[in-house]
């Protein structure tokens, strides 16, 4: 237990005290609490404090009473007071109901808020329903999302079904403000971007259409609110000041509103697309080779998406005439076709929405189980209180008064649960939106990496519904026991022997409730089991690398660097004390793939063909440092330099795709950049085959990969940097030490590169599986809660049934039944209950687990082992829950039982 619990309880205690004397009374309570905690321990002190809270709360109600007019009000207050006292007398009962309802309702409210934001609420942009991402149709449902700028410009000039269109791209920009170097999350945008997303400037203006026309002419920038405050101190006279990018001053022309943070949700700087020729490289904006911008367009009013779709082939053809594609790599069959994707769908991974719907179903189940459990507990309690009610009837209470009393109790419980549920919902929502557990790590979803623009918050209406649900549950599950209590009537009840036929009938209702609980729990447990197994499979998946002891860092290269620069860089890194080995690469395993293109395979008698492959540029030590195993041939060496014959290493997927069933060693290829830029005369020879390595995602098969030696420069156009700008180091030292040492050495060597994206390879491996870890943890927690609730339910019913059957058991024992026989009878009825629930649950899970779909990895939705293991677990838990009441039954003394 922690100190905060003490403080919380003391604070609650304060709330129960009258205003005018709160200070000294609270002081007295705290003084006594400390004395008790010191002399008798915190547990005793805390129990005392809880009782004190209940007593003071009771007093507060009493002192309020005279102030309230009218008998009805007085009755309600009296009922409430009585209810408080009743519930304080059985705190475990009350706490179980409040806690389970609060968790059930709270989790539902939070998850529903997320699902509502992701699926139903319009995006916070004007006419969001008419916003579409324009992509190029290919195999993936989202299509190829990146465009060269000139192609977008051609589209924007067309009079298509669009009213407005904009292009934008995310960029990590190195910016100097007042001599301070900052890496800023930026967006490169067309001037129309601000209109499409309905984002006017808070200060100054946004980019003008004129600034979209001439490359490198208008060096202007727009600041985000955060950058404005941090770098310019929120100075309102910021307009006309400047930030420095690559040695050139960019004049600040505007500041955005705080709530607009671009499409990443973190953007703090906007730069005009025409300046990309300066801050990126020449031709970035004007060349047709750089596929880097995303396009969003708003349909004209009244144009349906079907009508727009119908215009796409013609529009594609017109745009293709104006701006032909030089690299047809991304499109299917080399044919282009524009495709419209609802903007919402590119902003959030459909898999993420889907997993939230699954979680919503799961918390719905937990709420149902919690309701069943509550109904069960309330019914059981009403029955055990029969004699109390009978006594009150005998003393003149009307049936209505008793119904009112019982209802007041359940309403009180529900109200407390409703308030607690609100706290649960707020807390859970806060966690979900800050921890962002469900962010997919997929390639295209870098823009979907945040809930920000979905404005997930606790909707007051949802909160009100939440509270209403709580009260509804209170009434609904309060009425049955209330009626039972009032009908309890004057007869047999007073005699304490409640084993009437009515008792058995109620047992059946309760048994049905428990059956439902067990069945729902089974479904949750099986889902959770499948997810845990998925996580285990994903965590132990073969990544093709040895991540332990490897630290990776990216450097920022604003300019093209020479081979000598990288040689020096590698030398510096190797020289750091504690670094055992180091290598440079354009792309690191487990960090996303880089450039891809078609690879021409040399004709060997068969038909000429080309294979799509990713390309990585690595220094010879790369395979050694990352632990990628050689399968055949040789690895790269320092002799594979500029003057030597051009060589490449392929992965097994590439070998399989290009030379199925043949030895790839000695085969020759040409890669795309050479074809595109005319330096295609030279062939590159494959000298080695290495294992497949996961770069991008665990879910898709590893793609063909071509490793080219860093010391043999590519014939790439100026700026398209496939530069080995990422560093992998094998070391036993901690990350911070290494990065500090690296930074120091680079500064000393006069090459102060910005370092970012620092992570151990193990962390990168963990990110690959985080999706499964979070969903299995979430489902696991829900399923565990369901299991505990079901166990409580089973225990409650069995304990009640044993109490009801005391006489019967007594007679059996008197007639010679041994304890073992009694145990068998009681456990037998428990087993029947369990078996029915387990069978129902298995059937439900079998029918329903298909929806888990891609939330699973490496297991089928009907994995027999998981189904069997969970069934066994459930039966064991049910039997354990039956065992305690069964033991009690075994010890029934026939003499006592029969005399009662």
């Amino acid at each position: 237990m922690q100190r905060w619990l003490d403080r919380l309880l003391l604070r609650i205690a304060r709330l129960t005290l009258p205003n005018h004397s709160r200070e000294w009374m609270a002081g007295d309570i705290e003084e006594d609490y400390r004395r008790l905690a010191e002399t008798r321990g915190r547990i005793v002190a805390m129990r005392w404090l809880l009782a004190e809270i209940a007593r003071n709360a009771g007093n507060a109600v009493t002192t309020l009473t005279p102030r309230l007019e009218g008998t009805l009000m007085r009755n309600i207050v009296r009922d409430a007071r009585y209810a408080v006292r009743q519930l304080a007398a059985s705190p475990i009962f009350a706490a179980t109901i409040v806690l389970t309802l609060a968790l059930g309702i709270g989790a539902n409210t939070a998850i529903f808020s997320v699902v509502d934001a992701l699926l139903f609420k319009p995006l916070p942009y004007p006419h969001a329903d008419r916003l579409y991402a324009v992509t190029l149709a290919n195999a993936s449902p989202q299509g190829m999302q990146f465009w060269p700028y000139p192609k977008y410009a051609a589209l924007a000039r067309e009079d298509g079904p669009f009213e407005a269109a904009a292009a934008y791209a995310r960029r990590d920009q190195l910016v100097a403000v007042n001599g301070l170097d900052l890496r800023v999350e930026s967006e490169v945008v067309t001037s129309s971007y601000f209109d499409v997303f309905g984002a006017p400037a808070a200060i100054g203006r946004v980019f003008s259409a004129d600034e979209d026309t001439t490359p490198e002419r208008d060096a202007v920038a727009i600041l985000g609110d955060g950058l404005w405050r941090s770098a310019f101190g929120g100075d309102r006279n910021v307009l006309g000041k400047s930030v420095t990018i690559k040695g050139r001053s960019y004049v600040v022309i505007g500041v955005m509103r705080p709530d607009f943070r671009g499409q990443t949700g973190r953007t703090q700087l906007w730069l005009p697309v025409m300046m990309a020729d300066h801050f990126m490289y020449k031709g970035a904006a004007t060349g047709a080779f750089s596929w880097w911008m995303r396009v969003v367009a708003r349909l004209k009013p009244g144009v349906t998406s079907a009508a727009a779709d119908a215009q796409m082939p013609a529009l594609t053809a017109r745009v293709a005439t104006a701006a032909p594609s030089f690299l047809k790599t991304a499109t299917r069959d080399g044919r282009e076709l524009f495709q419209l994707v609802q903007f919402r769908d590119v902003k959030v991974d459909p898999e993420v929405s889907r997993s939230f719907v699954v979680v919503l179903a799961a918390v719905g189940f937990v709420l149902l189980i919690a309701c069943a459990n509550t109904a069960n507990l309330l019914l059981g309690r009403a029955v055990t209180r029969q004699s109390e009610f009978a006594l009150r009837r005998a003393l003149g209470a009307s049936p209505a008064a008793i119904v009112r009393q019982v209802l007041t109790e359940s309403l009180l419980l529900a109200a407390v649960a409703g308030i607690a549920a609100l706290a649960v919902a707020i807390g859970l929502l806060h966690w979900l939106t800050t921890a962002k557990p469900m962010n997919a790590t997929g390639f295209w979803s870098q823009y979907a990496g945040t809930f920000d623009y979905f404005a997930v918050s606790l909707d007051p209406r949802v909160a009100a519904v939440n509270f209403g649900v709580a009260l509804g549950i209170g009434v609904l599950f309060g009425i049955a026991p209330a009626r039972a209590a009032s009908r309890g009537a004057l007869h047999a009840s007073l005699k304490q022997s409640a084993d009437s036929p009515r008792g058995f009938r109620r047992f059946n209702t309760r048994a049905a409730l428990v059956l439902t609980e067990v069945a729902f729990s089974m479904m949750l447990l099986i889902s959770a089991g499948l997810m845990v197994k998925s996580f285990a499979r994903a965590a132990s998946a073969d990544l093709g690398v040895e991540p332990r002891g490897v630290i990776t860092v990216s450097t920022s290269m604003e300019d093209r660097r020479s081979l000598t620069f990288f040689r020096d860089l590698l030398q510096q890194v190797r020289g750091i004390p504690g670094v055992d080995d180091a290598a440079l690469a354009a792309e690191l395993p487990l960090s996303g793939r880089g450039n891809s293109g078609p690879i021409a395979i040399e004709d060997t008698g068969g038909e000429r063909k080309s294979v799509r492959a990713n390309m990585n540029v690595v220094t010879p030590g790369f395979f050694r440092v990352t632990g990628v195993a050689l399968r055949s041939g040789r690895l790269l060496t320092d002799d594979d330099r500029e003057t030597a014959p051009r060589v490449a290493i392929v992965n097994r997927a590439m070998a399989q795709a290009a030379w199925p069933g043949q030895d790839p060693i000695g085969r020759r290829i040409k890669h795309d950049f050479r074809v595109a830029y005319g330096s295609a005369d030279e062939w590159t020879t494959v000298v080695g085959v290495v294992d497949d390595v996961v770069y991008d995602t665990l879910e898709e098969p590893v793609e063909p990969m071509l490793y080219l030696p860093a010391w043999q420069p590519l014939g790439t156009p100026a700026g398209i940097a496939i530069a080995p700008a990422r560093i992998a180091m094998r070391t036993a030292l901690p990350v911070d030490t290494i990065v500090a040492a690296l930074r120091e050495r680079l500064r000393a060597a006069g090459a102060p590169l910005a370092l970012f994206d620092v992570a151990t390879m193990s962390e990168r491996a963990a990110r690959m599986t985080s999706r499964y870890r979070y969903s299995s943890a979430m489902m696991g927690a829900l399923a565990a809660l369901a299991l505990v609730l079901s166990a409580i339910g089973v225990y409650g019913v069995m304990a009640y049934s044993v109490a009801m059957r005391r006489r019967e058991i007594g007679i059996r024992v008197a007639l010679g039944a041994r304890p073992r026989d009694v145990l068998r009878v009681v456990l037998g009825s428990g087993v029947k209950l369990a078996a029915a629930g387990v069978l129902l649950g298995l059937a439900g899970a079998f029918a329903g687990s298909r929806v888990l779909g891609r939330m699973l990895y490496g297991v089928t939705a009907h994995d027999p082992w998981t189904f069997a293991a969970i069934a066994v677990l459930m039966i064991v838990v049910v039997l354990a829950a039956c065992y305690v009441p069964a033991r009690r039954a075994m010890r029934v003394d026939p003499v006592v039982a029969l005399r009662a």
Binding site: W24, G27, E30, D32
Partner: protein
């Protein structure tokens, strides 16, 4: 019956216990000590607000006076409210005690047997 006319009211049973605690505790009488004293001697469980309700009623009747003390660390930096009996309270307690002992006189053995 002079205590009745003077104080304007008889003492309730719990009021008597509280006044007796004030007599015993003297300068050390405040909420926590009063409650502790009664709880220790009578095996009753009291709520602090209940104790104050009675003290405030006695103060209202002029039988008890109170003053605010200094804050102390063991009380989370809160001040104490001290209580002491007034002459009116002393007379009322004395007369209640006299009535009680008079009534119980000679009944000791029989009371024990009950």
């Amino acid at each position: 019956m002079d205590h009745k006319t003077e104080a304007g009211a008889t003492l309730g049973e719990f009021e008597q216990l509280v006044l007796l605690a004030l007599v015993r505790l003297e300068a050390e009488a405040y909420g926590a000590t009063i409650r502790r004293d009664i709880e220790a001697r009578t095996a009753r469980r009291l709520s602090i607000s209940g104790v104050y309700t009675t003290l405030e009623r006695l103060e209202h009747k002029g039988m008890v006076r109170s003053w605010i003390g200094e804050p102390t660390a063991e009380r989370g930096g809160r001040r104490r409210k001290h209580f002491a009996m007034t002459p009116v309270g002393a007379r009322a307690l004395k007369s209640a005690y006299r009535d009680y002992t008079e009534m119980a006189a000679g009944l000791e053995r029989r009371l024990k047997r009950l």
